[in-house]
Symmetry: C2
Subunit: 340 residues, 2 copies
DNA sequence: TATTGGATTGCATACGTTTGCAAACAACGA
DNA sequence: TCGTTGTTTGCAAACGTATGCAATCCAATA
């Protein structure tokens, strides 16, 4: 015998007031006298009343739901971000509708449609780029979008990333200062701004030391491509003595391939540096030197700018970049007197 | 200039029919002539009309939203399950509202309240147990619940797990047959059915070989507790030569501690066996022998039984156990002639 | 005491859909 | 031609809330 849902009508009847009064008591910023507030609250707790967010959404047009689109759930970085985002948004009274999608554009299109159906108040895409068409659709519908860990040209779009170019530069300086002779880069997917920016920063950083990368290969953000790239690099006549890998997830594959398959030692034969600093990077099995993306601060910034755009009409999209430090561990030779 | 939302009224006007007709065309199983179907569909695509799921939910009481409650997102097993669940449910036209919670009971209580507010059609809890009170609340509200990777006594509750007792037995036989003399167990959290069942099966399995576990320590499903347990085990006068760990996530910590901190070799000095077979277990750095939980089949079973209870009124909760194989890798000595 | 103005309240409508009901209609055999 | 049956259709009432408007209240001022 399912218990009947209790509505604001029921509360109103019990409290001896009108339904509107009940509504006002539960609507922040509405006017009600202390006397009615008391009566209503008492009746409400007695009946176990809670406002129906769906009905509320119908009226106000605000669902208090945020759509989260995420692609790479096998990369530890994203579950972590998801968890933090979820907690931060829950604390602000929002909830998360998740969509998983391959990064290819066609599924995403359908998803954006469904998100708009549900009248989500905002959208966060983690490591997923939106086409201009989709951006436009969301803008037309008045739904703010924040790209998490992905940038996009043009300024209709909010995004939160780490300072990828700068990060690439830091890694380059670090490896150059470490006395490495032949430094290669297995890059993040060239279809992503993060991948491109890190690669660009890296090349710039080497150039500042009058050096060129030995090679740059697209690792597609997958283990397979990264392993393959590692093999082809090490098969060269002049194999690299250091590899900067576009993210930790690939860096683990690189290390697995170097050590397990090719029998090389890290960092004795080859130094490896990653990007992200996921928890696994700190585990003894990898002990990976890597450039940290500060998840917490990125999440904070994402939530702040998204809620700002939702709740403060007229606030503009912004592109936020967050600096991250290089975390020194055992997978790469550390230059003497390295203080930076 | 946000484009005005197009409603069934607009479509009706354009198609020259009543609003109800439009609704019937978009409601599966409602009656409408081919002529009106055509007219309405044409008008709908012309205007870009899509039914509003929130308004629909108000009437029908069905939101087509599933609440997913998840605790351990740093254990690779759960992001994977989340991804699969999300895909399977999306394919059936459902969507996932995620809630993250620590496993302690108080936050969960609030979450169940919010889930009921949103009139979710069903709830999946991943590795989170629900108190009897919460189970009852959901039952009263007519919301089916499926526990994923966690069991619960009493039969009001659906659950999908792997065959944990059996799995524990298999590992015991394997380690016993491998000629290990002192076999210890770092168990999953004793507050969880999975942890208890695996431990029980393991003890039973050893008993079948007339053996006793050297020791059983609760690893709490955390890396820290598992590392600590490893240290205390290896500090014994008679340290184990094999450790069965309650899940892969802890097993990695155990291996890190054994190899990195204690300078031991795996499996030469100590064999390690895990439980789950997350992708990381197959990576060269760990190469972990482990009992596989077949995520795909567990997800299928979860979705099937949940949707069954949602869509077929009167269908009963069921407890499903799925067998998994032992995956042989390099972290544990393999018995001669092992065929099982 | 009469007047004013602000705070509080109820009435009624709206949000966008589904669905019971009865009217309209089409098809068909008598 | 006329009932009869089964299918389509429109009307109107929900679902549970927020909110503009006008009415009411209350205290404070003149």
């Amino acid at each position: 015998m399912p218990e009947a849902r209790v509505t604001s009508q029921d509360v109103a009847r019990l409290a001896g007031v009108s339904q509107s009064a009940v509504s006002r008591v539960f609507t922040p910023g509405a006017s009600a006298s202390q006397a009615t507030i008391d009566k209503v609250k008492r009746a409400a707790t007695q009946l176990g009343y809670r406002p129906n967010p769906l009905a509320r959404a119908m009226i106000t047009g605000k669902s208090r739901i945020i759509g989260l689109v995420v692609a790479y759930l096998d990369n530890q970085f994203y579950p972590l971000a998801l968890e933090r985002l979820s907690n931060a948004l829950q604390a602000k009274g929002y909830h998360i509708l998740v969509f998983t999608t391959p990064n290819s554009g066609d599924g995403l299109d359908r998803i954006v449609g469904e998100l708009m159906d549900y009248r989500v108040d905002g959208i966060i895409t983690a490591s997923v780029a939106m086409s201009n068409g989709m951006t436009q659709r969301c803008a037309d519908a008045g739904i703010p979008v924040v790209l998490f860990n992905r940038g996009q040209d043009g300024d209709g779009q909010s995004s939160v990333t780490s300072a990828n170019i700068d990060g690439g530069r830091k890694v380059a300086s670090f490896l150059a200062a470490g006395g490495h002779r032949r430094i290669a880069h297995i890059a993040g997917w060239s279809g992503s701004s993060t991948g491109r920016d890190r690669a660009r920063g890296f090349t710039q950083g080497l150039a500042a030391h009058d050096r060129l990368p030995l090679d740059v290969i697209d690792g597609m953000y997958t283990r397979d491509a990264a392993s393959q790239a590692t093999r082809s690099l090490m098969a060269r006549a002049d194999p690299p003595d250091a590899i900067f890998v576009g993210n930790d997830h690939m860096a683990f594959a690189v290390m697995d391939t170097l050590r397990g398959e090719l029998g090389l030692r890290v960092p004795h034969d080859v130094s490896v540096v990653g990007y992200d600093d996921v928890p696994l990077a700190g585990w003894a099995a990898y002990d990976l030197t890597t450039l940290r993306q500060p998840v917490n601060r990125m999440v904070e910034a994402t939530v702040d700018t998204l809620l700002d755009q939702i709740e403060t009409p007229g606030s503009l999209p912004e592109k936020i970049e967050i600096q991250g430090p290089l975390i020194l561990r055992g997978s790469a030779r550390i230059p003497k007197d390295w203080t930076q």
